[in-house]
């Protein structure tokens, strides 16, 4: 198992209660794995309209594989402008 840390913004920070959250997962998980683990540990993420995962400051697709050293973030529905 590996520890993967994600940055939390907006409502994601309210849900996890901190600016980052750590998940324990098998090495090189997919973005879908991350998403599922997150909802498992924090069911409130399942109540959001949606959320995306950013990998190295870009939107990640579901099949992408998370590598060691990647910068990851939870992106709840945006509302700028």
């Amino acid at each position: 198992m590996e520890t993967i840390t994600l940055l939390c913004f907006g409502i994601a920070r309210d849900i996890t209660g901190a600016a980052t959250v750590s998940l324990h997962l098998r090495p090189r998980p997919t973005v879908t794995d991350l998403r599922q683990k997150l909802i498992e540990e924090y069911p409130a993420f399942g109540e959001l309209v949606s959320f995306a995962i950013a990998r190295n400051e870009e939107y990640a697709s579901e099949e992408e594989i998370v590598e060691n050293g990647d910068v990851l973030a939870i992106i709840p529905p945006v509302s700028g402008g």
């Binding site: 940055l7 913004f9 907006g10 409502i11 309210d14 109540e47 959001l48 309209v49 950013a54 400051e57 870009e58 939107y59 973030a73 992106i75 709840p76 529905p77 945006v78 509302s79 700028g80 402008g81």
Partner: protein, 138 residues
């Protein structure tokens, strides 16, 4: 030319205008987004904008470059405010200059549409009786 800014200070329309103004361009279009005093029938007292700054700047730059190329614009400036704002404050300014005004209108509208869809900035509205993150829940 592209200019991108995230700032916790007041945004200036004149400054945004100056960055796109050019003697070869006859048409400049600006979009200015301000804080409204109500949303879905509730009274808003103030609000807070949070951003994932490095990614927001990348996305803003990508959106501006895309609009510039697709609409053959001369310059695109995109300034977004972060931090605490009150009613009437300017949250965003988009300034676009072009030789052709039709392109300037289309390009400016595309930038604000894509910004609202993709840029990682989150708005928390404070009402008289509570607060919530806009768009987060159904």
């Amino acid at each position: 030319m592209i200019e991108i800014k995230l700032s916790d200070q007041s945004l200036s329309i004149d400054k945004a205008y100056a960055t796109v103004q050019d003697p070869t361009c006859g048409g400049i279009v600006l979009f200015i987004g301000t804080i409204r005093n109500h949303n879905k029938g509730k009274t808003v007292t103030h609000l807070d904008f949070e951003s994932y700054a490095p990614m927001a700047l990348k996305e803003m730059n990508r959106i501006a470059e895309k609009a510039k190329t697709e609409h053959k614009l001369h310059a695109v400036t995109l300034h977004h405010r972060v931090g605490e704002l009150t009613i009437g404050d300017i949250a965003v300014i988009i300034a676009v200059s072009s030789h052709h005004r039709k392109a300037a209108f289309a390009g400016c509208e595309q930038v604000i549409d894509e910004l609202k869809e993709h840029v990682p900035i989150w708005k928390k509205e404070f009402l008289e009786d509570g607060s919530y993150w806009v768009n987060a829940r159904p």
